[in-house]
Symmetry: C2
Subunit: 337 residues, 2 copies
């Protein structure tokens, strides 16, 4: 059983990271993949512009969920991965693996939704591909998008750049996407009017960077949630991160659902949120820039970077204690993006 | 039954083109997609370099076949799509949809094969992603690759540039990939030591372009085979194409298998061949450049472009007649790439 792929291998947590390290890292090793960033910043030799390139396949179930669908998600997710390098996303590719028997109406709905999401985000889908697999070898449709963006001159953002003393910001409430998808999928009793937060963050990043050009790290806490994002940043930068649980914005519906299901909201996926790590002298300007943008209204200062406990994320709990925020293991919520 | 996706929608023929036109073309319309080229040539505003961007998902069955596997194929296929714009492929992304239960050994084999193919082709895989789906919702693994390349200054290649009087070249034998995969998959009696032709064509394209810089069109005849590639070029350029069947190189094993199965070799997939359309004054230099390269040793002049019958491809048959080479409909060989 150990030598086969399990669901946990795709869930964005430790088990997936082990797989990446064990299977992909060595044979594919190069300086871009080694960055382990959300998108690769590539630099043509002897040229000035730097390009951010990223890819993601989307397998969310159900295809249409409250607040979005696999099409808008596939645009937002890749736009965001490119934007997390501080880049301005410009071009996307889109590739579809369709299951025999998928309704054309559903496909049209999803494609339309991609087109709208791309237009809203200001990106163009410049290349595409379609494959069809036999009934029972897919699940309606899977979509891959890859994205390319230009990194503005002077912007230096990467998961290895957090420094002790930096301030950790979060752009809004957590867990909305995961719980919205789950409620629809499982038809759960806690189904509310909660919507996925799926959104393109490139506009928010642009606003942020004009107010706080020295931002060190950006990360969108998707699969594995805020817990995975913070752990990845702490590990890659070899710093400790300390957050205050009480400062993390969580909608009451999400909190209630998590309590009922036994989930930690810190491990639930988001698709329109980002973690910002910024030097202290720019923290206030950064928070104000986030608050001024529709997608950052609930932004909060949630913690700081320290040289204590490098690689570890600690949370101060409501009753004054401290707990380790672990990298989630991976079984939590399959097929959430 | 008309409103659901069928296997033919993914088979590279007319049915797929209808689907693209009906479902994707309008909502996603922009000047890059409108080119309908193998890769999009994108041009950052106010900058000189032009980039070719392409994507393909690979769903070939079986995962490992004579002469390659889904990993090498995923590198070759996308490198070739980028190279078909005359670009020098530089960066790939790779995204995996893995089925629960896939053996790690198989995955390792495939990833290693991708790494080797990328190194041989001189490209770097700069970003990646992994998803896992439940058993019965995939088929071992699907891989998406997207590619970015730089188009050298002065190169102007596109599927709309064929002109009457141009010469049509083919870089080698056809049908090898489709028949090799099929023989393995079906365990057919005609199983021979035939190998897929899967190979990266960017080196061949570079050699070609230094000998014949005015090349008008390049196209790799993958799904749908040579018949689809020629029909697409004739339609996009609004010209007629006339070929001589007897000049098309076909290996005896492929010819025999096609005869047995009732296939037209012109519709069988290739993964290491290209069609070249070149002005007559450069035709000889182009053929010589192809012949001088290991991947072009069997290159042949197979026909010409005419202003008769625009949009149609005609073949002179062995016995002196002419037949229309139709766009294949699409049911031929599912999951061939």
């Amino acid at each position: 059983m150990k030598d086969v792929i399990r669901l946990a291998h795709g869930a964005g947590g430790k088990t997936m990271n082990d797989l990446i390290r064990e299977v992909f890292a060595t044979p594919l090793d190069n300086r871009y993949l080694r960055q382990m960033a959300d998108s690769a910043v590539v630099e043509p030799e002897h040229r000035n512009p730097r390009f951010a390139i990223s890819t993601d396949s989307y397998t969310v179930r159900p295809l249409i969920f409250p607040g979005g669908d696999i099409g808008s998600l596939a645009v937002h997710g890749t736009v965001n991965d490119v934007a997390m390098s501080g880049a301005r996303p410009l071009w996307l590719t889109a590739s579809f693996i369709l299951e025999e028997g998928l309704s054309i109406a559903t496909l049209k709905h999803v494609v339309q939704s991609m087109a709208e999401a791309a237009q809203e985000a200001g990106v163009q889908i410049v290349a595409g591909d379609t494959k069809v697999v036999e009934r029972g070898h897919g699940d309606g449709m899977y979509i891959n998008t890859a994205g390319v963006g230009v990194v503005p001159e002077g912007v230096m953002i990467g998961p290895d750049r957090a420094q002790p003393g930096d301030v950790v910001l979060l752009s809004g409430t957590i867990g909305d996407h995961g719980i919205a998808v789950l409620s629809k999928r499982e038809g759960l009793a806690f189904e509310t009017d909660l919507l996925s937060d799926s959104a393109a963050l490139n506009g928010l990043v642009e606003s942020l960077l004009s107010a706080a050009p020295l931002v060190h790290c950006l990360r969108d806490p998707t699969r594995g949630g805020l817990a995975a994002a913070l752990n990845e940043l702490a590990e890659t930068s070899r710093v400790g991160i300390e957050i205050e649980e009480g400062r993390i914005p969580v909608r009451p519906a999400v909190a209630a659902a998590c309590e009922m299901m036994g989930f930690d909201p810190l491990t639930v996926a988001n698709e329109g949120k980002m973690v910002v790590i910024v030097p202290p002298q720019e923290a206030q300007a950064a928070v104000e820039a986030l608050h001024a943008h529709p997608l950052g209204q609930n932004a909060a200062r949630i913690g700081f970077v320290t040289d204590d406990h490098p690689g570890l994320v600690l949370a101060r709990t409501g009753i004054g204690g401290r707990r380790v925020v672990d990298m989630p293991l991976g079984e939590l919520l399959p097929r959430i993006c």
